[in-house]
Amino acid sequence: MSVVLAPDFVLALLDRDATGHEDAAGWVRLAEEDLVTTPLALTSIDQGAGEAAPAVRDDFARGAYTVRWWADALDETLAISRKRDLDLVRASLVALAARLRTDRIATFDTAFENLRTPGGKPFVMLPERNP
């Protein structure tokens, strides 16, 4: 199964002071799923990574993360952005979830608590939080 990878998750992994860093690091060391994101999210990660950007690019080059984009991705992203009043990065991740037929997303972004997949399912945010 694939997991959609949001930019904030990778940035939390990078930053020892970030909220969720330890949870993210622990989870990613054990995760067996493919971690997949979009080119829009990759750009956001790259811009947010600062001096660590080259190391993150290496992780993408090595295949630790995968980038997916497809013929109708832009149309789908724009439609989701308009319909749900979302920025393009988040909208692209919702579109990707539909493409991958997954409801699992690696993120601490609370916006996803209230978002649903195009199939109408709530997102399962990873690492799973204790209530």
Partner: protein, 57 residues
């Protein structure tokens, strides 16, 4: 071949038998093929860019 004995939960044993039957294989052959596939599966590539930033605390 080398003989190996392992303990299985009854549920796993039943599931193995069921899947083997679906594939038209003996349970032993199904287990052998599954283990071959597992040990030849490439290890998942893990990110290395972890904890490179921060350290204010």
């Amino acid at each position: 071949m080398k003989k190996t004995s392992i303990y299985l939960e009854p549920e796993l044993d039943e599931a193995l038998a069921r899947r083997a039957a679906e594939e038209g294989l003996t349970k032993a052959e199904f287990i052998r093929r599954s283990l071959w596939a597992l040990v030849h599966q490439p290890a998942r590539v893990r990110p290395k860019a972890i904890g490179l930033l921060g350290g204010r605390r």
